[in-house]
């Protein structure tokens, strides 16, 4: 029983990391109907920025964190301006390929600048553990869970309660109509990329103590976060986190109870089954067909 709870908690923590990256996917998709395959690589880059500020320049953890988030928000806007804006509205396939290309580029450049070693960021949470009965919970994992809950709530409120959030939802439904209603669609898209890059950076910094930062971490985790977003129904903010937690728990349970090899495949098998039963994901909007 204790093993089970321990696995569950570590699965939830891992799942929250996936959920955080998936949140980035969902944000961009929700506002622009673009699927950003470079989301994991944005996370990797955010982690490296934070490492540069904190580990190499010796700044305070929180200042370095904020600096990395701000820098990545600007970078997200830049990436949107150069890669996505010219092809906004073209078939998804083109945009997916463009972001895959962006991902290749970011991975290689990060490898060139920071090398191919693993890096670790010293955080205030790296040391301590919380003991509940005989259960041992590391602070770094708890920090990921807490951050995920906070970010998810904030983003949900932002999307559903603020004017800017409503404008984002409007421009995703019908860009032209939103433009006619006075929404500056281009600026909205730019802002949503900045937010999603910032969220990715939070994920990168928080998971640095758990998985370390290296130039391929974005690809590895991005490929797990992607099913998480799909499982939750692309375009639902709570769905992304629930999907991420599900994938994380399934992965850690499969790694513990099933023979070797199931750990990596189990999330994908579950994903395929869910897609078979509910093609729009768990929380996805039901698609209505209009001619």
């Amino acid at each position: 029983m204790l093993d089970f709870v321990q696995q569950l908690v570590s699965g939830v923590a891992l799942g929250c990391v996936y959920g955080l990256i998936a949140l980035g996917f969902v944000l961009v998709y929700k506002a622009t109907e673009v699927v950003n395959f470079a989301q994991g690589d944005l996370m990797m880059l955010g982690g490296f920025f934070a490492f540069t500020f904190i580990g190499m320049m010796g700044l305070n953890y929180w200042i370095g964190f904020a600096g990395a988030v701000a820098a990545m928000a600007l970078f997200g806007m830049l990436a949107e301006r150069i890669v996505v804006r010219p092809i906004l509205g073209y078939p998804q396939f083109s945009i997916i390929m463009a972001t895959i290309g962006l991902g290749y580029f970011l991975r290689s450049v990060a490898g060139m600048i920071w090398g191919t070693d693993d890096f670790k960021i010293e955080t205030p949470f790296s040391q301590g553990v919380l003991r509940v009965g005989s259960l041992v919970l590391a602070h770094d994992k708890l920090s990921v869970i807490a951050a995920t809950i906070i970010l998810c709530t904030l983003l949900w409120l932002f999307f559903n309660k603020t004017t800017l959030g409503t404008a984002m939802r409007a421009s995703s439904e019908n860009m032209l109509a939103a433009y006619y209603m006075g929404i500056p669609v281009k600026r909205v898209v730019s802002i949503v990329w900045a937010i999603s890059a910032a969220v990715a950076t939070c994920a990168g910094v928080l998971l640095a103590p758990i998985t370390f930062i290296h130039s391929n971490v974005g690809l590895v985790l991005g490929l797990k976060a992607f099913p998480a977003a799909v499982l939750g129904g692309f375009g639902s903010i709570p769905g992304a986190v629930v999907g991420g937690v599900l994938i994380g728990v399934i992965e850690s349970m499969a790694g513990f109870y099933l023979p070797e090899g199931w750990k990596d495949v189990a999330p994908y098998i579950v994903l395929l089954v869910v897609l078979l039963l509910k093609p729009e994901g768990l929380f996805g909007l039901h698609a209505r067909k209009k001619v």
């Binding site: 998709y29 109907e33 699927v35 890669v83 010219p86 092809i87 906004l88 509205g89 073209y90 998804q92 396939f93 083109s94 945009i95 997916i96 390929m97 463009a98 895959i100 290309g101 962006l102 290749y104 580029f105 970011l106 991975r107 290689s108 450049v109 490898g111 060139m112 191919t116 421009s171 995703s172 439904e173 019908n174 860009m175 032209l176 433009y179 130039s215 490929l223 992607f226 099913p227 799909v230 692309f234 375009g235 090899g261 990596d264 495949v265 994908y268 098998i269 994903l271 395929l272 897609l275 078979l276 093609p279 729009e280 996805g284 909007l285 698609a287 209505r288 067909k289 209009k290 001619v291």
Partner: protein, 383 residues
């Protein structure tokens, strides 16, 4: 410029619209047939890979280009074809039998993948095919009694009609070329048949196709099966060419490469698959060549513009150090993909058509002919 006057439907669907096509494609075929006697063995080897990649490209074009169903799982189909060949070869099954068996098995699995794909669209289909590819990769790594696990399988040289054909021999090249040509001709015939027109109708508008009486589900599954079967055939040749296969060869990276083949070649015509295959196979040796020779060339240019010997040597060593940077290839790869999506969405074949039209219409060519319309996003969620 030649004007084609079409008087009936037969004129419209001819394989060779006029005699010029027969001459130019005949010449191309002749050049390809004498190529083994002209080119170095390294280039021949690359040419075999071009044939294999182009075959996969054609398969992917049927599915993605003409039926509009994106797939990032074609490496899995290639793997299934390759492993079927390697497994059956152990039991001394003759080449023609396991070649066909690999195609048939991959086709069946493709149809099975096609069924769940019926309900999925866009991004959900992409992730479903990625999941399928991951599961296949893991099965290949774990099913050790059949696939030998991560240690991989050796593939012996194929024997055709009692003659052993080594993987570097011209005969093997001719075999690959024959498979490619047959695939292309078969696909062209398929595309001008009712099946092919149904595929294109589904791509353009599923709702419209359904209301015209096209059985969308049936044709989607057919498209998956045909595409997978062709990829399976290519997989057999791939296994023989490499003579060793292991699960880590058939990763998502390879699936992305196949998509890049058709993206760079152009997704609207079979020419695209061949041009894209040439590009993707040749980019690696080309970049290596640049890496070895570029520093010297740049230093030479600097010297001609009056730089001193010391400065030139300095520049040369700097450029060489830059070229030797780890991962520069990946960055160039990424930039190429992004540039193609942004500036040449019709691919290499689209560029060729533009150049051709420029000379055909010489003083009258307008850039606007190929200009993309401005499109505004409408939600796919409640389409």
């Amino acid at each position: 410029m030649r004007f084609l006057f079409k008087t009936d439907y037969e004129d419209d669907i001819r394989l060779f619209p006029h005699s010029g096509y027969v001459v130019s494609y005949g010449l191309l075929l002749a050049v390809l047939l004498i190529a083994p006697y002209l080119l170095s063995s390294y280039l021949m080897s690359q040419l075999v890979f071009v044939c294999i990649y182009a075959t996969v490209g054609v398969a992917l074009l049927i599915l993605t280009g003409f039926t509009g169903q994106a797939s990032l799982g074609h490496a899995a189909f290639l793997a299934i074809g390759a492993y079927t060949a390697a497994y059956l070869q152990k039991y001394n099954v003759p080449f023609p039998v396991y070649f066909l068996a690999a195609g048939a098995l991959t086709g069946c699995i493709g149809a099975l993948v096609g069924f769940p794909a019926l309900r999925l669209q866009g991004i959900y289909l992409v992730i479903a095919t990625i999941s399928f590819a991951f599961i296949v990769e893991e099965i290949l790594a774990r099913w050790e009694s059949v696939t030998n696990g991560n240690e991989g399988m050796r593939v012996k040289a194929l024997s055709l009609l009692g003659v052993t054909v080594s993987r570097d021999s011209p005969t093997f090249y001719f075999l690959c070329l024959a498979v490619l040509v047959l695939t292309i001709v078969g696909t062209l015939n398929l595309l001008r048949s009712p099946t092919g027109r149904a595929f294109v109708a589904i791509r353009d508008s599923e709702t419209a196709a359904r209301s015209m009486g096209v059985n969308v589900a049936l044709y989607k599954v057919k498209s998956f099966a045909i595409s997978a079967a062709i990829t399976g055939f290519a997989g057999v040749l791939f296994a023989h060419k490499l003579s060793f296969i292991s699960p880590e060869m058939f990763t998502l990276q390879l699936s992305i490469e196949f998509i890049i083949v058709i993206l760079i070649g152009g997704t609207f015509s079979l020419h695209g698959a061949v041009l894209g295959a040439i590009f993707i196979v040749m980019i690696d040796p080309f970049l290596t060549y640049l890496k070895d020779d570029m520093p010297g060339i740049i230093a030479g240019i600097a010297a001609t513009f009056g730089a001193g010997a010391a400065t030139a040597a300095n520049i040369q060593s700097k450029v060489a150090a830059f070229a030797a940077l780890n991962g520069l290839k990946g960055a160039i790869y990424g930039i190429i993909i992004v540039l193609f999506v942004l500036f040449e969405p019709l691919g290499l074949y689209g560029r060729w058509l533009k150049i051709k039209l420029f000379f055909q219409l010489f003083p009258l060519y307008k850039r606007a002919t190929f200009k993309r319309q401005k499109i505004y996003v409408k939600s796919e969620r409640n389409r």
